[in-house]
Symmetry: C2
Subunit: 454 residues, 2 copies
């Protein structure tokens, strides 16, 4: 009955080494979120399909993992129907629940469902896996983790400022040099107005969002296909390619967009954010990028994206302001702003740049070699005291050959190995081998604790 075991395509096991690295990333993000007053929530892996469907476009609906109803999943069907039913309709009726696709829609659902228990503005963070039935490929998984922070119920631009500080602080602590790109959807709307394509703002946004991938020629082609005039496209180009300092860009834009009220509002917001950021120490550059669009339709104000400077990889963090996230659940006019760290890409960046600190290795700091029952009984109370000092330590569980025991310590990168034999028991000392240098030295228990803490 033996099966060769495997896991579903696009999913991953995380080894102790990988978990230690991932926890380092999650804990860094968590600590920064917390220091800004964000509080954690979790939502269930399964949501009702009525919560999920229609929120991610037609393509998104296809990528939802659906849970077959328990018990007799066919009981609600007239069997004859099954001869002709479409797969889509079948799935819709045989499944009431699906796995969450992102953290944003469950968060909107949470806010509406619990609004009477919440205090607004509500600042929450959430670090959980999401699932998408996407075609797996390098760096794209069917189960992956999102690390979101959002503030809902406040229009204040202070939140934009704090989210930028959070981004700066997280990457500062991780040691990743980044460029924090910022734009404002209001400017994109104004550009649409000014080039005479006010009715095609969504097409414009989607096309600009692809600039990185398909280049200006590609964007040009796409805009033509969507019915933009050559004149409109020609007047778009210099705006997207504005250079100079953030202040230079805003000054030029103010002139080009002066006929647009919403454009002036966008410029005012950006100036406010930049002015406040000047008061605070930042480690990374915040750069106004007019070609930053972000695909999602619900953004209405500031939008952010983060690029790593030392590794070629897509955006590693993104976010923005939305004026109505909860409307679809019957709660209108809740403005919010949020960011999401891409944990999997950050993991790759840290690996590429080899930036994990030594402590990330985790595991025991010390292993006692096992020489037999008498030594075991001597060691157990010592081990107890070491662990009470919050130091991870272990005793090899069997008195097998020394080579096997040392090999275990070596494989697990345990930095110190302790030997206690008859001499050590008589003298109340512990012989310690430093596994890096190979040096061996005698310690008292107190000296050992100091060594392990160091």
């Amino acid at each position: 009955m033996a099966q060769k075991p495997s896991i579903p395509k696009g999913t991953r096991d995380f080894s102790p080494e990988e978990m230690a690295k991932r926890n380092y990333i999650f804990n860094t993000i968590r600590e920064v979120y917390k220091s800004y007053g964000f509080r954690e929530i979790e939502t269930p892996a399964m949501e009702n399909l009525s919560t999920l469907t229609g929120k991610y476009g037609e393509e998104g609906d296809k990528l939802l993992f659906r849970i077959l109803n328990s018990g007799d999943s066919l009981k609600d069907f007239d069997r004859n129907e099954l001869l002709t039913i479409t797969p889509t309709e079948f799935a819709a009726r045989a499944c009431d629940r699906g796995l969450r696709y992102d953290l944003t829609v469950p968060f909107a659902r949470f806010v509406v469902q619990h609004k009477n228990e919440l205090t607004f503005p509500f600042k929450r963070y959430q670090i959980q896996p999401v699932w998408r039935a996407d075609r797996p490929q390098k760096g794209r998984y069917r189960e992956f983790f999102q690390c979101d922070a959002d503030v809902i119920g406040s229009d204040s631009l202070l939140h934009e400022i704090e989210l930028i500080q959070i981004i700066d602080k997280v990457f500062g602590r991780l040691g990743i040099r980044v460029s924090i790109l910022i734009n404002n959807r209001k400017l994109l709307t104004a550009i649409g107005q000014v080039i005479g394509a006010e009715d095609k703002i969504v097409d414009l946004t989607i096309a600009i969002d692809k600039l990185d991938k398909i280049g200006w020629d590609g964007v040009h082609q796409e805009l033509l296909a969507k019915g933009f005039t050559e004149g409109a496209i020609a007047s778009l180009k210099p705006i997207l390619e504005l250079s100079g300092t953030n202040t230079d860009k805003l000054t030029t834009l103010e002139e080009s967009l002066k006929s647009s009220e919403v454009g002036m509002k966008g410029i005012e917001e950006l100036r406010y954010i930049m002015r406040k950021l000047d008061l605070i120490p930042l480690q990374n550059e915040v750069k106004l990028d007019l070609s930053l669009a972000r695909g999602l339709n619900y953004y209405t104000g500031a939008i952010f994206e983060v690029k790593a400077l030392d590794v070629q990889i897509g955006s590693i963090t993104g976010g923005g302001r939305y004026d109505d996230l909860t409307g679809v659940f019957g709660e209108k006019g809740m403005s919010g702003v949020g960011i999401s760290f891409g944990a999997d890409r950050i993991f790759d960046v840290l690996n590429t740049l080899d930036l994990y600190p030594e402590e990330t290795k985790g595991g025991s700091r010390l292993m006692f070699v096992n020489f037999g029952e008498k030594e075991e009984e001597y060691i157990l109370p010592l081990l107890y005291k070491i662990r009470e000092a919050n130091i991870a330590a272990e005793l090899y569980p069997e008195s097998v050959k020394m080579k096997k025991q040392m090999n275990y310590a070596d494989q697990l990168s345990i930095p110190y190995v302790a030997f206690i034999g008859a001499d050590e028991m008589a003298n109340n000392t512990i012989t310690i081998k430093d596994m890096k240098t190979g040096e061996q030295k005698s310690y008292t228990f107190e000296e050992l604790i100091t060594l392990l803490r160091g």
Copy 2:
């Protein structure tokens, strides 16, 4: 288009307050596991159904959540089949994946799949949700968390000793007084032999496991129904009801079970564990309980269970030794031993006994009242420094009515509120209101940091 949002039956949202409490439990368990040299792994939420089915009995198979295959889930069926297919066969063929039902089977799968990358004995812990399509009821959820630690690839009884220490330490740190019950499956086997029911060990175990719920009369009835003789049942009762110290019980048992080799082995194992535990400080009593059986069939040696002394609730932790967990995946002879903390019940116990420490509340330590833009600009750099000191703090995002701002701090149980107006800016001071006492006092920035750290 508004929907009234809800979540699937048997699932839960966790509010910031609940998350803080849950993280306190998980972190306590995690810290103790780590100090004993256990290392964390995670496995995907979805497993292939071939990994899951047949591992939890027929009843368990019915409780698996199955994921409908993506795309056209009916494509592998001849439509005419669907007229007569059984729901079970349909589910089996329309679904390749399911949600994990526990952490034990995925762990066994993990060990076999990655055995060439692992160093044995492999000590892992895992804290993740599991899903069961059980009928939801008070305290029973369809999504709940397990916190498992297992050692695999070692027969050493030192692991049993360390797992008992871990249990003792976790409940010690949480402040829950418990009784740690221990037994050995070998004794149950020996009892079966001695009462002449060697062929019915499984029935015997299952019946004894229910003693708590159905009492001795119930067990008696069940054993009769399973074909045990009145004589066998009569000779069972005094053994299960043995009283006295652990040593007394073992001495009596040694006499009653002396004809059974496996019984003598079980007694030897228990004596060894007890002797070693005597060398180590324990906060809770470890009690030999011969009526402890644990339902799961894979246990072969020591078994554990933990009862809270001050709250009426079922077992809050359990575990045991198994000789062959990975055999079903083609890897024979891997002995292991493990425990699992019942996080949801521990959560309830801590709530009932009101044992959460003050820090568990989480959230900001300080809120600055917002008096307007000038004050904001003065406060932002201060706030930056406070957060750099790893203290969670926030500025109310809008200069709205004082009452609304104070209400926010109050609702979020923020212990200190800071006021900075013209006077404070001129004097370089900060006026702080202690929200518990209502007292107001002037601080320098350095004094404030000291206060917030305290």
